[in-house]
Point group: C2
Chain length 143, copies 2
């Protein structure tokens, strides 16, 4: 049984982010990949939409410049023939401040001939912003 | 072929939220359901973790008191035997202010004997907070 494309992609992504080895990642991404991490791009310029392999590799370099992954735990995973969905809990360090950051990412991926062709990621971004700022943002109670 | 439990649950949830008809939802939820919507519970008290059918029905009543669903579009869905993952884009109205709210939800669900036994939802909560406040929150650029 062949390894699912998600495992190859995840391994290559983590290697790119933590070891700055981008060759495996380049080989695991389709030339016409469609990519989006939903969140505040003013604070995190590596969030947002990217199109094409070069743009995705460049944004992964930017992410690698900003964080280091310490641990991750896959809380849920669903695998299709050329698709995958997963919820992953990450323990990171923000490299500029050396702050620990803990966050969950929900990702929905599609693959074409084994290479990543579409990726959508959702994060509890309010929590991420507060952790990054290092203090709570005061909020009204609405309900 | 039997309908997947996700469709039954989603229909019952939307009926509970928009029509305040909670019977179908009660029938679609396991007594020992484990439920979490990750996000700022100070602002949205209906976020956070709930355990057991009564607590989940109560939180769905609170959500129904606060929003109305206008449209939703399922951008991705993966179905397993007793599991499902989906990314859904919702157009809502916040009932207290009559403000339109647009958000994506990533959900990971598990079912036991056809009833919802576990639900985890992730939302781009920073965007949701800004839409609810009606103005942007100033942020520093970190990268």
């Amino acid at each position: 049984m062949t390894e699912h494309s998600l495992w190859r992609f995840s391994r290559a992504l983590h290697r790119a982010l933590n070891e700055r080895q981008h060759d495996d990642l380049a080989a695991a991404i389709d030339d016409n990949v469609d990519w989006a991490i939903y969140g505040p791009i003013d604070m995190f310029p590596f969030f947002g939409a990217r199109h094409g392999k070069a743009a995705v590799l460049e944004v992964c370099r930017q992410i690698a410049d900003n964080i280091r992954i310490h641990r991750y735990h896959r809380e849920a995973v669903m695998l299709g023939v050329e698709s995958a969905a997963s919820m992953v809990r990450y323990s990171l360090t923000a490299l500029d401040t050396n702050k620990p950051i803990s966050l969950r990412i929900a990702l929905f991926a599609q693959f074409h001939n084994g290479r990543l062709s579409s990726m959508r990621m959702l994060i509890d971004t309010f929590d991420l912003v507060e952790q990054t700022l290092g203090h709570p943002i005061p909020l009204p109670k609405i309900a």
